[in-house]
Symmetry: C2
Subunit: 172 residues, 2 copies
DNA sequence: AATGAAATCGACCAGCA
DNA sequence: TGCTGGTCGATTTCATT
């Protein structure tokens, strides 16, 4: 009754140690992991495979620097829709489909969607905002310009507190 | 004069095709890439190495599902600071250091920082917000709750338009 | 679930266009 | 400089405990 096993595959300290390491660098030498965790290479591989199959590791991706591709402008846009009823899903999908948009959240509060986009110049920025405003049902938008990305890169385990870690481990 | 070569390593269509593929799955078989791009395994490897060394590929990471670790609550917080002068950098670092926080942006506009955090329950959420408010110099905060993550996962190339791609290619 | 041996895949070296 | 082919080493897989 106190276990909320949604996707909760029960993990131990070893699993978390592996996760923390591979989310930092998935090309890690199995020998290094085997070394620090006192486990055979095959055991590490076995656990990694299980973590992937169970969906704990959703994918393993190469992170491409946006600046290297000229995407130097990051814009965060708050989007409000006219009618709260029904269309929300469709509008979310429409926002997600716009070129340059790479994060879309449906939020509870004064604004309905929060959208993160990257573009190369002002012209593309204007075009992007026009596309957002042009979506049927979108009422009002407010865009802010990001001066500096202080923390980025979606690490999950690395940002967890001791309390959060314990919560995962106490799921036996 | 029209080339703004900041980090701009000039890339061709083949490089972009490789990037688009490895940012989706970095464990791609070299044979598959070699097959679809009509290039030898070694050539693909050569280009990948170059892309990593030049910083276009910053890292290669395993993506861990936050839900699998019980992090079901995503909160987006707008933070305003008291004095615009000086302390901004320090406050940004302080925000980035809080457990649960995984994205921090310094923005231009009515609000100074935008912070994304993940927690497991209300208690952790309250604790997190208390820590943010407790930072010296933080004036006002406004948190909104994310109901649904419609688009996520920091793909760079996948979200680019044809125009953006062309801009990268016309950098010879 | 973890171990060790066999097949497979990726990393490096030298030569070539 | 960028690509080819072959080789060595590491990794993935399988059968066994």
């Amino acid at each position: 009754m106190q276990s909320e096993d949604r996707d909760a595959v029960d993990l131990d300290e070893t699993d978390l140690a592996i996760l923390e390491r591979v989310e930092r660098d998935s090309d890690v030498n199995l020998e290094e992991l085997s070394d620090t965790l006192d486990l055979s290479r095959s055991a590490i591989h076995y656990r990694l495979k299980k973590l992937k199959n169970s969906g704990v590791i959703t994918s393993t991706s190469a992170d491409v620097d946006p600046l290297a591709l000229g995407l130097s402008l990051l814009i965060i846009t708050e989007v409000s829709v006219a009618h709260e009823s029904g269309y929300a899903e469709d509008i979310g999908e429409a926002l997600a489909g716009i070129d340059g948009v790479y994060q879309v959240y449906y939020t509870l509060g004064d604004t309905d969607f929060i959208v993160h986009s990257r573009v190369q110049n002002r012209a593309q920025m204007n075009e992007l905002i026009d596309k957002i405003v042009g979506i049927d049902g979108v009422n009002e938008t407010s865009s802010t310009f990001v001066m500096q990305e202080i923390k980025t890169g979606d690490r999950t385990v690395a940002n967890m507190s001791e309390t959060m870690i314990d919560d995962v481990l106490d799921d036996s």
